[in-house]
């Protein structure tokens, strides 16, 4: 797969397995294998089901959820959407409230992961070496992406 094609796919979202009941932090660190310093320092704008997330520890993944990762964004809107930012009050109507872990129906769940901007550039290679569920003409299929040299 061409790198540019893969980048488009990652912006639209790919399915990644996670552990039922995990917090967003646990998913990012334990399931995705991200460095905790990167999670706290670089993932400045994060959405769970289109709602801005302020606290990685009190927000939990569930089967079928959509998690989008972004760096710090410009503009008043960008600043407003930043995790735990000073201006978070300005979007309180859409903020993801703290929630409880979902009740496990099975051990694993599927998280639709979207990557934008800095995380897209930083994490594409990491995702390219693990099984991903991507959209297909027949619904969705599991693939292991092999990136072409460009």
């Amino acid at each position: 797969m061409a790198r540019s094609q893969f980048f488009t796919l990652l912006q639209q979202g790919v399915g990644v397995p996670g552990k039922v009941g995990a917090s967003v932090r646990e998913f990012l660190v334990q399931d995705l294998g991200l460095d905790p310093g990167y999670v706290d320092g670089d993932l400045q704008t994060v959405f769970l089901d289109s709602q801005p997330v302020d606290d990685f520890d009190s927000t939990h993944i569930r089967d079928g959820c959509v998690l989008a990762l972004s760096g710090a964004m410009p503009g008043l809107a960008g600043t407003t959407l930043r995790r735990g930012g000073y201006y978070a009050r300005m979007r309180d109507g859409i903020t993801h409230a703290s929630d409880l872990p979902s009740t496990p129906g099975s051990d694993r769940c599927l998280v639709q992961l979207k990557l934008f901007n800095k995380p897209l550039a930083d994490l594409a290679d990491l995702l390219a070496v693990r099984p991903l569920r991507i959209p297909d003409v027949e619904g969705a299929i599991w693939v292991a992406v092999r990136l072409n040299r460009e």
């Binding site: 289109s50 503009g75 901007n117």
Partner: protein, 577 residues
């Protein structure tokens, strides 16, 4: 930078040039100066296209110095779009060159005599105004071809295209960029129409012999400048995000937040967002031999712009910005970057505000003039505007007029000016600023500038219930101050997060002008600018009833969050109580 150049276009025998010192306006620059002059000299109840209105063009306080990011230029007048005071500012080379020629402002005033068009030339030796019939109905790129041999690489051009000449309310004023192209615009509020009403088609700035503005304290200025540049370079937004993807990096994120106005603000997410995102755009630009990292003026260290080439590798336009990609893209359900780039070129060439035009075309789409998603149809409508057909003149008068002409309630405007690319139902704090800004709906009026550092109006708990109004007020005050310095608003992020970078900005002003400003002084300055503007608007007939969003934003829920704008009128009225 201690002179004001005045052009009286109504003088007998043709436009008269006078040069005077700053007088009562000493110590002002950029938005502070344009708003002070308009408030003091323009009758608030005048017609915006009449002889009593004035067009004021002013570089910022730090423009012309060697400080990074300081070259923005403000344009002020009574707006034909909002009927209130207007300040629109632009990047490009115009601010630096005009400041280095020693001018704090150009004021174009008086009533145009006859139908002649004029070209104003400014050099270190003075200014001349010449009638020039050859520029009639010339577009901005045609003006570039004609005048670039004069202004060359050291000068700049400030001009209007056909839209300004026709005095359309969506007309912008173009400012040439580093390459001399007319790609930077004082876009909002119809400032180009006011320039057109004065009969001035182009201002050619000859930079030969122009000198860097010397600070009062060179060593202190040098130290502050170094700290300033260091602060911008180390911040994740100004040092990484903007240079890599430009402002269009916001498309994916605002869309994900459900705050991306789509199909004339009817929903908050666009299914084609990833096709027009900053990430996709940057990759395409590089693939086609363009650039994704470029400054619009010398001295820019953020470099949020770039160049967009055709499939054949030929230059089409500068990198379309987020607001443009949204207005002509998602808001019109168009997901083709080539179409959007072509429309961006037409905006620049005809001299039109991209936000107003995208919002207007979306209104026309809802009215059934063309279907949503019809890219070629949108291009055709742009040509109608640029050529001044009857339909084009309606569209070129903006979203509010177009909605009225087609009998639609859905005009996403405040004070007659179209909303930018953030739906106020999803991000309500921005809605407060849209509603209460002196400028009409404006995303830059209340930017995220260090209000927490400046403590404008005291410490505010952003989590308090009353926080929205207080935050908006503080942001508007801080923004008015930054708009007066000539600094690009994108410095805000570094200033917001890094107290030492905010201090470097204050130090630059103090070293340049021998001032002794502190954070309170900067806040007081911002408040003074806003007081000029609110005073003018009050005398122009504005009341609290004008500080409102259209009522359908309170009534019609926005998907996917199904939220409405529910900030009460009473709370809106507390912003400037």
């Amino acid at each position: 930078m201690d002179k004001i150049l005045r052009i009286d276009v109504g003088a007998s025998g043709g436009p008269r040039v006078t040069i005077a010192d700053m007088g009562d306006y000493a110590g002002l620059g950029g938005r502070g100066l344009t708003s002070a002059i308009v408030n003091a000299e323009v009758p608030a109840d005048c017609h915006p296209l009449g002889p009593e209105n004035k067009l004021v063009i002013a570089p910022g306080l730090l423009s012309g110095t060697s400080a990074a990011m300081a070259g923005r230029i403000s344009v002020g007048c009574k707006s034909p779009l909002t009927n209130g005071i207007k300040e629109a500012n632009s990047g490009g080379q115009g601010g630096q060159v005009l400041a280095r020629l020693g001018y704090a402002a150009i004021v174009i005033e008086g009533g145009r005599q006859g139908d002649e068009l004029y070209v104003l030339r400014v050099s270190k030796d003075g200014a001349t105004v010449t009638a020039d019939e050859s520029v009639r109905m010339a577009t901005n790129y045609q003006l570039m071809e004609k005048f670039q041999p004069e202004y060359g690489s050291k000068g700049a051009m400030i001009s209007i295209g056909t839209a300004g000449e026709m005095r359309l309310s969506a007309a912008s004023i173009a400012v040439s960029d580093v390459e001399g192209r007319p790609t930077r615009h004082a876009g909002r509020g119809g400032v180009g129409a006011v320039m057109g009403s004065k009969g001035i088609k182009a201002i050619v700035l000859d930079g030969t012999g122009a000198e860097v503005h010397k600070p009062a304290h060179p060593e202190a200025f040098k130290a502050a400048r170094k700290e300033w540049a260091k602060g911008l370079a180390k911040h994740p937004v100004t040092g990484q995000g903007l240079p890599a993807y430009g402002t269009n990096v916001l498309t994916n994120v605002i869309n994900e937040a459900g705050a991306y106005p789509t199909r004339n603000f009817s929903t908050g997410q666009f299914e084609g967002a990833s096709k027009i995102s900053g990430e996709t755009q940057a990759a395409l630009e590089v693939e086609r031999g363009g650039t994704a990292t470029h400054g619009c003026q010398r001295g820019c260290v953020i470099k949020c712009s770039g160049s967009f080439n055709s499939k054949e590798g030929l230059f089409v336009t500068k990198q379309p910005e987020y607001e443009t990609v949204w207005s002509h893209g998602g808001n019109c359900a168009i997901d083709d970057l080539d179409i959007i780039a072509e429309i961006d070129r037409l905006d620049d060439d005809y001299g039109l505000d991209t936000i107003e035009m995208g919002a207007t075309i979306a209104v026309a789409m809802e009215a059934g003039v063309i279907p949503f998603g019809d890219g070629q149809g949108a291009i055709n409508l742009m040509h109608e505007v640029g050529k001044g057909t009857p339909l084009g003149r309606i569209l070129g008068s903006g979203a509010a007029v177009t909605a009225r002409a087609f009998g639609l309630e859905h005009a996403p405007v405040v004070k007659g000016q179209a909303m930018p690319a953030y739906d106020p139902r999803a991000i309500k704090g921005i809605g407060v600023t849209y509603a209460t800004s002196t400028m009409g709906a404006d995303h830059t009026a209340g930017y995220a500038v260090a209000t927490n550092i400046m403590k404008v109006g005291g410490d505010v708990d952003p989590l308090a219930v009353e926080g929205q109004a207080e935050l908006s007020k503080n942001l508007q005050i801080a923004t008015a101050a930054v708009d007066s310095t000539g600094m690009c608003l994108f410095v805000a992020f570094a200033v917001l997060d890094q107290p030492e970078t905010f201090q470097a900005l204050v130090d630059l002003l103090n070293a340049c002008y021998d001032w002794d400003l502190d954070a309170d002084g900067v806040a007081a300055f911002g408040k003074k600018v806003l007081s000029f503007e609110r005073d003018f608007n009050a005398r122009a007939g504005f009341t609290p009833a004008d500080d409102r969003l259209p009522s359908y934003f309170k009534r019609e829920p926005l998907a996917p969050h199904n939220v409405v704008f529910d900030i009460s009128d009473e709370e809106l009225d507390t912003v400037f109580a």
